[in-house]
Assembly symmetry: C2
Homo-oligomer: 380 residues x 2
Amino acid sequence: MVSSDFKAMLLKLGVPEERLNVLEGKGGIVEDEFGGIRYVRFRDSARGFRRGTVVFENGDVVLGFPHIKRIVQLENGIRRVFKGRPFYVEEKVDGYNVRVVKVKDKILALTRGGFVCPFTTERILDFVNEEFFRDYPNLVLAGEMAGPESPYIVEGPPYVKEDIRFFLFDIQEKGTGRSLPVEERLKLAEEYGIEHVETFGVYDRSKIDELYELIERLSRERREGIVMKTPDMKRIAKYVTPYANINDIRIGSHIFFDLPHGYFMGRIKRLAFYLAERKVKGEEFDGYARALGKALLGPFVESIHEVASGGEVEEVFTVRVKSISTAHKMVTHFERLGVRIHIEDIEDLKNGYWKITFKRVYPDATREMRELWNGLAFVD
Amino acid sequence: MVSSDFKAMLLKLGVPEERLNVLEGKGGIVEDEFGGIRYVRFRDSARGFRRGTVVFENGDVVLGFPHIKRIVQLENGIRRVFKGRPFYVEEKVDGYNVRVVKVKDKILALTRGGFVCPFTTERILDFVNEEFFRDYPNLVLAGEMAGPESPYIVEGPPYVKEDIRFFLFDIQEKGTGRSLPVEERLKLAEEYGIEHVETFGVYDRSKIDELYELIERLSRERREGIVMKTPDMKRIAKYVTPYANINDIRIGSHIFFDLPHGYFMGRIKRLAFYLAERKVKGEEFDGYARALGKALLGPFVESIHEVASGGEVEEVFTVRVKSISTAHKMVTHFERLGVRIHIEDIEDLKNGYWKITFKRVYPDATREMRELWNGLAFVD
């Protein structure tokens, strides 16, 4: 349901009336509220409004974050995407995407899906200098929240030893979603002391060997990959390390039945293209094969044992919050996402933060596994 | 299109008129001809007529071969399917399913999909005693065609060293599709000298340890698995060896993009349940992990190299035929299945047989691989 004042606003913003009615009918746009600020989030796209777009009661529009294209053959991908142009190479950090925006007098953190995240919003000023938004109320900071204590992601990058951190990788205008050029973004990040994803410099296709070395170093360092961007941010492509492909499979195989097949197959595909492009052979090839096999089977078989002995498929994670009420808001937030979660433990860290331990249960994956373990005979 | 005389026959056989019209409209039933005998094959099911059912011009009906249910946890699966009942254990042979039937004065071999297979039909009397059908014109021999020289399957069981052979595993009545009891089938196979899949005897759930040993032996011997059947054929379940799961993945990974994700994920799942049920650990576990990883990556990476150097994803296979015209009929048969195939070589074996080498090309898989290799940037 979307109220009439929001509908009028969306029409004024250019959403065609027919599309608006269709979207509303199928729940493609949903009205919501956070801390007294009302907003509409787009679960489907409409006209220039991408999935994940948020329109606030004051007319502020934050476009959905665009999906960055992936290449699986680095050399040819660079040639095809960038031709001869130079491009910045930045780290692709393994976390969850947030857009940070000031609306009225509040600073809010939006998830990819267009929800205001209660946890990230509570914590965001630990990482982002509020003055930035005083000076630039019309800009949106897009970045990755990453670390071992995250509500959405099981692991973080190896260099975040505890809690979570924000890593800036894009600054966009409200309304248009236009990105600032890379240099301006880097300058603003420095000026306001906002942590930025690591930048590895400017490359072009002639420096492919240095890029291969970079990928191999990042893979050794258990990091996710790179994002390549022309200085004007018009052309962007991502490429992930073999480490990340295998590690994602390892994490996913624990909840095997909860993930679509494409989750695993896509990563196997990327790994195979890496091995082909780098002409990996012999013992090194076998090492990857063994790691892949263990990643697929190890956590999966452990989950089967867990369910076979009466347990459930579940994941435990922690977050640090300033107020326990934020933890409860997260439970509500997850419930709306259809996720079964509950608080396991609350610990006072005596530094103004509480450490909250959640347990997420996967009832469908548990049920499927239990049925198979119990001897279900099925046609496939 | 189905002619009016066939329609009248199907109505008489009990297919409801409305269903018949729907099926015809969407191509769910198709009229066909082989060697002057007309037939209708069911691509979809209708009433008691399963997918793969064939109705001949003389009114003979051969029901589609039923899909046998799979279990992935042997002990609990046996308990659930068979309770305390005894069951025969027979080898599950890795080949393609055929139903052999006498219609008018011809002996025909039907594929699972309900086609008369020109190759199998030409060769079937090499393996099946024609007298059987003189004595039992109302029975259908169902079995597996298996061997290294097969038009549909890349590999055969290790004990078929050349060509192909027929292995009986079921005898059904025309019309009803009712299976003969196991003992009657075994007796007829012996009496008429028809090769039968290996039988391992009668088991029940108390003999689970012997079954585990059997599975492990079959796996070591590179065999596919077992099918368990109550003597009256009313309850049937299949279980495959870890060897077969990994080997299927190895064969499939060569044509990675031509197969649905479920092909691979289903086999990984079965392997994981085997490892969990048998509590495989340590080095043995690592051995399976390595074998799985190599099966997934090895042939896949080779295919990428092949395509990267200008080649195509393809498979080569041979068959032995008595008449070269049979080879040409196979090409036509494959074309109707939407498969791109051509004859590479014809060799006179000087024993009444010709060895035909075919090449099957996978244009879609080749195109997808080539695009990715050439640096396609895509959203996933």
